[in-house]
């Protein structure tokens, strides 16, 4: 019996191959979107970790020479023999025919983590690296280097431009620095009971690991993707729901017949569940594979993004991680189960003798829409309560969920209201029929339109967030990384001399004077700045009352960071006690993303009066040619290589991150809309099968089939239009929650929200296009319905 019944159930798919394809494709698409995003996320996280490990520099505490720029090898051995887990690095410049190469020597045996060049994992062998000498060079310098050194040179794209990596011993030989190092990296894990560094190596100073602020940005990027994953999942569930409903709707009469012929309901339901699980697994499998392809296509961007951030990264290979393909399958099965539960429940409730013909949709819809509206209102209320009283990232996401689900649920009511409104405005009979018929269609298309709503809102929200982030971040970078080079000195005694040298070489020198102090009981870094074009041109304020830099320069005002202002409860114009005898008004508030300390900025002369013993140990330098200046400083003036940071490069990398983030979010935008369009197509096909009886009277009363088709298309576009128009404020609310709540909970600072009307217009256009494309085929089918099919309606009418 079971086999016979199953054969009958499955035979439906054989004679409805298109529908079968639609269901499997729908499920697969939803799974693909989900698992693609998961894959990108998992892979991006993994690359991030690997990149962080590969990075080495800045990730670990380091030991630098107190004076000069070299460390004796004997000091290193003394440290090792004292138990200190340190690893040597030697840096220097090597002349080749095409210019100079920055050579970095390291010891792979003692280096913490996987600091060694990436390429060594594949191409070369450690034996060679250790004993014979191999150089891993960036592509731009590899050829010239090969001609200049006797060692083998291997081109490695993961090495930063202009740089070559080699073994510490080879570097010593090539750089003519026998038994010398530039610095020592301190491993994070050290043995117990170590003697004091000052005792073992009094000539070295420890420089703490530098917090690459980029880490926060990367985190934000991941959060971004996570939010997208959540939304794409929601969209996916809607489409699965659509396809499953279609399949069940069309098999109602078969189910009735099979039951009448003596198959118990429980057996039938059991069979249908098994069937669904089977399809879910197959479609889920296809979806995971598809997601892999999506991720593989998008992944070079993700990998490149992280690579750009750190100048080094693991290869952008994609691994089939069990956590995401399993989660993909689970999502397919759970989503199917969730989507099918309603349809199965209906089948279970369906009286054996009920008309097998799908019932007119509009009968219960008004009531249903109102009920959903009440649930939505409850969700909104919960969301508002969460926004006001809630705290923590989980609740922030709960707020997001309330907002999204609430918006989706209230959609049918809003659509009905909109259609009713339009209905009242029209006079012609045809349009009256059109609106009445549209209203009747709303419940059937609701799920698809909800999917479209969420997809569009997600796109609006996430792109608003990313764009806002980018605008803010670009401003921030322009402001903080304006000096092209950054020079740090270890010996304060040299400060004045270095400043003279720098002034002789650079366009503008910005000494960095700072002390840590408490202002209004908030731990704060107080800066003394040399007000000049850099500050005047590059700094943007969150709020100011005019003439900021003139007043700061004259020692009559102070600029404070948002963190300080908020924590101390101060704003523009409020007086601040900078030092016991110095009270200045706040002239401007400046954003300082990700800094746990407050910031206050006064003029250099004022600072030097307050703290005459503090001399600048860091200088920002403005120049038009950073690499030439860098060369001049190291070659002509003997400044240590490790003391000069090329900020223009950091800036370029960071900006690159956002360009690539855009590429990824853009691609995901298109995919989400594609899935939503698919959902619309499925709904229209579902409706088409039951639409004929509703359309036949209109046809009989004189509307041509062509006209009916046009009206079908128009209806889909109108409904999509209303949905999209609703989606934009929802998307903006989404972005607002992401920026004002999620970001605050995750990272502790709020991002300003910028609006991008052009972008939204484009998105709306895309959404309408997607809806129109989805509706095109059903409309064409309708226009070509043979009159006999329409006539049958009257023949069969009981």
């Amino acid at each position: 019996m079971i086999w016979t019944a199953l054969t009958a159930l499955l035979s439906h798919w054989r004679s409805n191959r298109l529908q079968f394809f639609a269901m499997v494709a729908g499920l697969a698409l939803a799974t693909a979107l989900w698992s693609g995003v998961q894959a990108i996320n998992a892979e991006a996280r993994a690359s991030y970790d690997a990149a962080a490990a590969t990075l080495g520099e800045g990730q670990f505490d380091q030991l630098l020479p107190r004076s000069g720029d070299r460390i004796d090898q004997s000091t290193y051995i003394a440290l090792r023999r004292a138990g200190w887990q340190v690893s040597p690095v030697l840096e220097g410049r090597l002349s080749t025919e095409d210019g100079r190469v920055r050579l970095v020597g390291l010891d792979p045996l003692t280096a913490p983590g996987t600091i060694a060049p990436v390429g060594m994992q594949e191409a070369a062998n450690l034996d060679d690296f250790l004993t014979r000498g191999v150089l891993f060079a960036a592509p731009d310098v590899a050829e010239a280097l090969a001609a200049a050194v006797p060692q083998r040179v291997i081109t490695d794209t993961s090495v930063a431009p202009g740089v070559a990596l080699t073994d510490i011993g080879v570097a010593q030989t090539l750089l003519d620095a026998e038994a010398k190092f530039s610095r020592l990296i301190i491993a994070p894990a050290q043995p117990m009971g170590l003697s004091d560094l000052a005792e073992v190596a009094p000539n070295l100073v420890r420089q703490p690991a530098q917090d690459a602020g980029a880490g926060r940005l990367t985190d934000s990027f991941h959060l971004n993707l996570t939010a997208f994953g959540l939304l794409s999942f929601a969209v996916g569930i809607f489409i699965v729901h659509g396809t499953i409903s279609l399949a069940f709707e069309q098999r109602r009469s078969m189910v009735r017949t099979i039951r009448a012929l003596g198959v118990p309901l429980k057996v039938l339901i059991g069979l249908m569940i098994s069937e669904l699980i089977l399809f879910a697994l197959v479609a889920g499998g296809i979806g995971v594979a598809l997601g892999y392809v999506i991720a593989a296509v998008l992944l070079p961007n993700v990998a490149a993004t992280l690579q750009g951030l750190y100048g080094a990264s693991v290869a952008g290979t994609l691994q089939l991680r069990p956590e995401w393909w399993l989660s993909g399958l689970a999502i397919a099965v759970l989503g199917t189960g969730f989507a099918a539960s309603g349809a199965l429940w209906k089948i279970a409730q369906m009286p054996l003798l009920a008309s097998a013909r799908p019932r007119a949709w509009a009968v219960a819809s008004g009531e249903t829409a109102r009920r959903l509206g009440v649930v939505a209102a409850l969700l909104f209320a919960t969301g508002i309560a969460l926004a006001i009283w809630g705290q923590g990232l989980t609740l922030a996401f709960a707020l997001l969920a309330c907002l999204l689900i609430g918006a989706a649920l209230i959609l049918p009511l809003l659509l009905r209201s909109a259609v009713t409104l339009a209905d009242r405005k029209v006079r012609s009979a045809m349009w009256q029929w059109f609106w009445a018929d549209t209203r009747q269609q709303v419940p059937g298309m609701s799920l698809a339109l909800m999917a479209l709503l969420l997809a569009t809102a997600a796109n609006v929200g996430v792109s608003t967030m990313v764009s806002s982030f980018r605008v803010t971040f670009v401003d921030f970078l322009d402001q903080r990384l304006a000096p092209e080079l950054f020079v740090r000195i270890e010996n304060p005694d040299q400060s004045a001399d270095i400043e003279v040298i720098l002034l002789s070489e650079a366009r503008e020198v910005l000494p960095l004077l700072s002390v840590e102090t408490d202002i209004s009981a908030v731990p704060t870094e107080l800066f003394g700045v040399r007000v000049g074009p850099t500050y005047r041109e590059n700094w943007l304020f969150l709020d100011d009352d005019g003439g900021v830099w003139d007043r700061v320069e004259a020692g009559r005002a102070v600029v404070v960071s948002e963190q300080l202002a908020r924590r101390a409860g101060l704003w523009i114009g409020d007086p601040v006690t900078i030092a016991p005898a110095l009270i200045l008004p706040i002239a401007a508030i400046v954003a300082d993303y990700g800094n746990p300390l407050g910031q206050a900025i006064i003029s250099e002369p004022l600072f030097r009066d307050l703290y005459p013993d503090t001399v600048p140990t860091s200088f920002g330098i403005r120049t038009d040619d950073p690499s030439a200046l860098r060369l001049a400083l190291t070659e002509k003036h003997g400044l240590p290589e490790s003391g000069i940071t090329d900020q223009s490069r950091i800036k370029a990398f960071s900006l690159g991150v956002f360009e690539r983030t855009f590429t990824v979010t853009g691609a995901l935008n298109v995919l989400t809309l594609a899935v939503a369009a698919f959902a619309i197509l499925m709904s229209l096909l579902t409706l088409a099968s039951i639409r004929v009886p509703q359309l036949a009277p209109a046809w009989a009363l004189g509307l041509t089939r062509r006209r009916l088709g046009q009206l079908e298309l128009l209806r889909a576009v109108v409904l999509a239009m209303v949905t999209t128009v609703l989606a934009i404020p929802l998307g903006l609310m989404l972005a607002w929650v992401l920026l004002s709540y999620v970001n605050v909970e995750a990272f502790g600072w709020k991002l300003p929200l910028y609006l991008f009307p052009g972008h939204y217009a484009l998105l709306t256009l895309f959404a309408l296009l997607a809806a129109a494309l989805a509706a095109l085929w059903p409309a064409l089918r309708l226009a070509r319905t043979p009159p006999s099919a329409l006539l049958k309606v009257f023949a069969n009418d009981r």
Binding site: I77, A116, E122, L126, D128, L130, P191, M192
Partner: protein, 346 residues
């Protein structure tokens, strides 16, 4: 104690796969190969033999705290040559690495070090004797009188060792055969150390006393390709007699065994393949794999039929080369204690 050879041979291909070590086959290309009837020259032979591919100074100690708690200590310095020579400075092809462990009935502390020869970070000198890597060392006026130190993130030890018996040579006067195909190593031991010192554990300093056993072994091509792992036993019986025995497991389930009976006065009896037998009795899940942590060990010729049980079954050495190594207790025809090392349980 071929065992330890295997460690290296295991380690190197592993590293080759993981990091790009290559060119280290299982042949002895360019390296010296052990030959029968060795004549040792001490103290020079306590030092390094750079023309052989692999070598170690391997010390295990069974110790007791003031409250009678049993402890195990391991200190091993490995030398692995990338080429059969030494060079000054960083280009020296001699790579050194070391493992240290303290095992209590409940806990197992481990750590490791890696260094290059040629720059003074690790090495062995013979007069006075010093084997060192970073701050770890085994040093003293002679091999009979040593201090032993090592430390990791959460443990350290400082022990003094005094030998009260002679060196013991395994196999044929120190030529120890490892397979039926004839692979071999030079292998001798000092199993007669008396130990006193201090263990530093998270719970505090613990004064300990006990005994220790040092293995010295070097070779270039010690294992057959079909051998997949080994089980190595060093047992000290209450009678004062000692037994070193190992099984080399073949891929097909067979094994190659070898053993040395060391009488209390230091006289030895060497046993060829088959005389020594060891059968797993209890398997434990350790670090996600099944490892035999209780054995039945037999040497019928000396009336040995004992159960050897791990003091702490979780003595897994989760290091660059993972293996199991820990103290054991002996019961049955003879009582006693010792050390067990097992590799190849993946």
């Amino acid at each position: 104690m071929i065992v330890r050879v295997l460690v290296i041979l295991f380690w190197l291909p592993l590293q080759a796969a993981a990091q790009g070590f290559a060119g280290l086959g299982t042949d002895a290309e360019g390296f010296a190969v052990p030959t029968p009837d060795p004549v040792f020259d001490f103290p020079e032979d306590h030092g390094a033999h750079p023309d052989y591919r692999i070598e170690w100074w391997y010390l295990t100690a069974n110790l007791t705290g003031p409250d009678g708690t049993a402890y195990g200590v391991q200190w091993t310095l490995f030398r692995s040559a990338l080429a059969p020579e030494t060079r000054e400075g960083w280009s020296d092809p001699q790579v050194w690495f070391a493992h240290a462990a303290v095992t209590t009935p409940e806990q197992h502390f481990i750590t490791e070090r890696v260094a290059r020869g040629g720059v003074g970070q690790a090495g062995v000198s013979v007069q006075p004797f010093e084997a060192w890597i970073d701050d770890w060392q085994m040093a003293g006026p002679s091999l009979d009188n040593l201090t032993l130190t090592a430390r990791g993130g959460d443990f350290a030890y400082d022990l003094s060792l005094k030998a009260n018996g002679p060196l013991v040579f395994h196999g044929d006067n120190g030529f120890s055969v490892k397979s039926v195909q004839g692979q071999a190593s030079y292998y001798y031991s000092q199993p007669f150390y008396e130990v006193a010192g201090t263990l530093t554990l998270p719970q505090g300093d613990i004064p300990v006393t006990g005994t220790a056993w040092m293995d010295r072994e070097w070779s270039s091509q010690p294992l057959a390709e079909t051998q997949s792992g080994w089980d190595w036993f060093s047992l000290s019986f209450d009678t004062g007699d000692k037994l070193m025995g190992f099984l080399l497991r073949e891929d097909d389930g067979a094994s190659f065994s070898s053993a040395t009976w060391i009488a209390a006065d230091g006289t030895t009896t060497a046993y060829r393949n088959g005389a020594f037998a060891a059968q797993p009795r209890v398997w434990s899940e350790v670090a996600g794999r099944e490892v035999p942590t209780e054995w039945v060990v037999q040497l019928p010729d000396k009336g040995i039929d004992v159960t050897v049980a791990a003091l702490n079954p979780n003595a897994w050495m989760a290091l660059s080369i993972p293996y199991w190594e820990g103290p054991v207790t002996v019961n049955g025809s003879h009582g006693g204690r010792g050390y067990l090392e097992m590799t190849g349980y993946e």
